[in-house]
Symmetry: C2
Subunit: 227 residues, 2 copies
């Protein structure tokens, strides 16, 4: 656990390393492991950063997080996944919660929660972990779905690359609340200031046009139906 | 325009280079420049990928796009922006539109629109372009806001790094529609399949608690008020 650490940590606290130490916006930093898990639990698409021939490559990728591991997957032919299994990656998960409208252009900001995780992913080769990792990933996108659908065949398993990234080295940043200039000289300008919230919701499930009309929406998807 | 190009292109088509050529999911590729602009116009937060000491770093960053340039900015002290101005970056913009629920775990997918742009950002030093670039950026997040608020001072301008990335080398991928297994053997399983749409909306503006009660919501924000 202490590899690369520059500070004493407990299991409840995230490691602070040269890479994860915040240089700026330190007031936005969160160091509790629970904060990392809260950010990760609230999404299922990350941005995976790898270096290919010296050039950065940032690929949107589906992930699932459980305990001390983040799983992500793709085709065995994927260039980014091949690179990911050969060196350090940076996985970033971002939730954009609002647009912070201040009295000055300079103080405009974004309310967000983001996590950056560094590490060398491990290729998951063992069938049991591969299945449970894929389950975590599918369930994170839509709870109840894994047990409802047809499980992967041996051939499908072989066509899927699953990578496991340890949640050891991560930083979390959160900005929330109103703009910062409410008690500064610009407050006297008489301008409106506040936050425009960004709402992220799941809509009513849209059936595949190829679906026979008598196939019912399964129980785990019914709560998504509009009232 | 033809640096690094491996194919003839027109101005209406995106350059295809070794970096932007799609290896997989070619059916999802879009090569019209208009497709790139549509993806960029629909967001204001990108994921900026840079290489710092050989390691990838992926940072959520506000952007604005206009014509043939994508602008992004940050503090002059930002480690990622310093790195960004020293080499090739990858800027990725992703919109997640839906969760594609298929009959098999393997065929599950995401409906999305994404753009990846490669290039060496140029540091904007000239005041006029810096102001107009910051305007593009602010207006993309909230139209009408730039002319409403206090403009940047000389000191604020100096504290801001603005980078301009040419929209020359980019790839666009789009997946939409139902799952792909509606006409395969799994269609006979009798399972529900379809898409759970993800809805992204701007909510009702929340006033800064420090705001005096007599400051009205300006006209350009009124359309965001809930009916």
């Amino acid at each position: 656990m202490s590899t690369g650490s520059t500070h004493e940590t407990t299991d409840a606290e995230l490691l602070v390393t040269e890479r994860t130490r915040l240089r700026r916006g330190k007031d936005k930093g969160r160091t509790a492991r629970a904060d990392l898990h809260a950010v990760l639990a609230d999404g299922f698409v990350c941005h995976l950063g790898v270096v290919v021939d010296g050039t950065p490559m940032v690929v949107p990728t589906v992930y699932g997080a459980t305990g001390d591991t983040l799983y992500f997957h793709g085709s065995v032919a994927s260039r980014s996944l091949v690179s990911a299994s050969e060196g350090v990656v940076c996985v970033t998960v971002t939730h954009v919660d609002g647009i912070v409208l201040a009295r000055s252009a300079f103080e405009h900001s974004i309310n967000y929660r983001s996590a950056m995780i560094y590490g060398v992913p491990r290729l998951v080769v063992e069938d049991d972990e591969k299945l449970s990792g894929l389950r975590v990933l599918t369930e994170q996108a839509m709870r109840g779905q894994w047990d409802y659908v047809r499980q992967p065949t041996r051939k499908e398993m072989a066509a899927t690359t699953l990578l496991a990234l340890p949640l050891d080295e991560a930083s979390v940043k959160v900005r929330m609340g109103p703009p910062d200039d409410g008690d500064g000289p610009d407050a006297g300008l008489g301008l409106w200031a506040g936050v425009v919230p960004l709402i992220n919701e799941r809509g009513t499930p849209q059936p595949d046009p190829a679906l026979p009309p008598d196939v019912p929406l399964p129980p785990h998807l019914r709560r998504l139906n509009a009232p």
